[in-house]
Amino acid sequence: MSEWINTLHPAWQALIRVLLVVLPILMLVPGMIWWERRLLSWMQDRIGPNRVATITWSKTSRLVPGFLRGKKTHFFGLIQPIADGVKLFLKEDITPAAVDRVVYFIAPAVALFPAFALGGTLPWGPFPALTPIADVNIGVLYVLAVSSLGVYGVVLGGYASDNKYSLMGGLRSSAQLISYELAMGMSLAGVVMATGSLKITEMVKAQEAPLWGAVPTLQNWFIFTPFGFISAVVFLVCMVAETNRAPFDLPEAENELIAGYHTEYSSMKFAVFFMGEYAAMFVFSGVFAAVFLGGYNLLPIRWDETATAVPAMAGLFKFLGQMNGALAGFWFLGKCALGITAYIWLRATLPRLRYDQLMSLGWRSLLPLAVSNLIVVALWIVCTEVYGASAAWIAVVAAGIALSVAAGVAHRIAQRGRPNLEVRGVRLVGGNPAQDEAVVGGPAA
């Protein structure tokens, strides 16, 4: 279908591939903003933007068909993001007097870069001629490397603004990203072990194998395997933290830091920060979909095998399988939309974490969980290869119980000798100067 692209000059091929990643992300950002505002307002029992893009038809004009005259057509405020964009473009671009100008100007661009660069290894479908941009054999490491660059935009913006609150935002962001990157890497390492390859395309292919190596008609999406599920949970939390979204939006906590690192930014420079955040959300959702949710497959069903298993409806299943392959890009996009919806849902549901809670979650919960998950992955692989799927399940459940008991004991030991500061369900912070400082600003480094 798309093989004709291989006949073009490599430069054109590269251009087509790049445009196929960058353009959808750029065009989807306004859609995401609209979706977030509408969904959030629905979840919070508000109305949300519903005025822009309402057409009031003329009562008298002959150009309007009769049944429309004098009526209003509502489009759910769909044009609102464009109105926002126009507003941001036309606002005065204020640069405070004391800023470090060079750094202040490059910070938004730096914030935008990783989000787009991250799209480079995501496969949008089984079309090797079109996507991904580069199927490098260090795919997952590339994702980790580029996502680790996401901190620079925030840090530079915070530093250059010459504002104490901005600086604190940058400070928090750098600590947060370093902490959650570890757990993210560890959670991906488990999946890499199960796949045996770092390529993301290989990971998607590995998920098309029979479920648990035992059910031939279903696909082995990693989120359905026990270790993959834990990895997915850890990765989900880390990806929310990496994109600085609620409940991990400490770098821009409104009630503590005004607007955090982008307090001093206005007009288009602020808009670029904003776009970077949404593009990062989209791309991280894409990574999640590709690594855990079976990539570009709509349903975890192996159509060809199902067709042989149910000969009566073989034609239907074959057709569905072809549709699954041909419209792969849409399924992938749908999964990204699912991820973004999860982001918005989390924002509407959870209150912001306190700084010490953030650190404690990252270092004391997610990292041990991800590391013990690695052990479980190793068990799963060995047991599946040697004894088969049922033995692997038994071993993994036993290992899970043993590890949680060990974690419980460790927690009990760690808590011993600490004063119980729990008063009416609210854990007080006090008596420990390091912890007090951690709440106010950076950790007690």
């Binding site: 490491l141 530093y159 400070l171 750098s174 990157e181």
Partner: protein
């Protein structure tokens, strides 16, 4: 020796090397610590691309993860912390050390350059297998022949973690 015209690769290398060298000069020359750190970030980033050009993909990406993603963020963190606590602290003074350091650097460059670069001038051919930097062979070597150094490095990192916690905690 091949000329520049026959070898566009040399031009690409020259561009990368130029950026790396300029950034390195920036690290030393910028009076502000943050600018120095940014130059170092650029330098490490470009070095990662030079590693790619040498075929060492895994190490190139590790360079980005470890250096620009972790070490430099730590540097920026400390710089910001210091700015928050003592804004006017980080500035430099001009004195005799600058000409001295420059002279010493030039001498070092000339000395080592004369000793090392001369004999190796004719080497153009990359003798190692092109796939030598892929994750799989590196991983195999790391976990078989080089297992002991690897484990020792992990012990070193553990000691580093314990040491930094000891230094950072005010009250144990």
């Amino acid at each position: 020796m091949e000329g520049v015209a026959q070898s566009p690769n040399l031009l690409v290398f020259a561009a990368f090397a130029g950026v790396a060298a300029l950034a390195a000069i920036g690290v030393v020359a910028f009076p502000s610590a943050l600018r120095s750190a940014l130059c170092l970030v650029i330098n490490f980033f470009v070095l990662a691309f030079l590693y790619f050009s040498l075929g060492a993909e895994l190490l190139g990406i590790t360079q980005i993860v470890v250096y620009t993603g972790a070490i430099m963020v730590l540097f920026l963190f400390v710089i910001m912390l210091l700015k928050l606590q003592a804004p006017a602290l980080l500035h430099e003074r001009q004195d005799f050390k600058i000409p001295l350091g420059l002279a010493f650097g030039a001498a070092l460059f000339a000395l080592i350059g004369a000793q090392v670069l001369g004999p190796l001038q004719g080497v153009f051919q990359m003798r190692a297998d092109p796939g030598y930097g892929a994750p799989e062979p590196v991983g195999r070597a790391l976990f078989s022949l080089y297992l002991w150094p690897f484990e020792l490095a992990s012990v070193l990192l553990l000691i580093g973690i314990v040491g930094s916690i000891l230094l950072a905690k005010r009250k144990l």
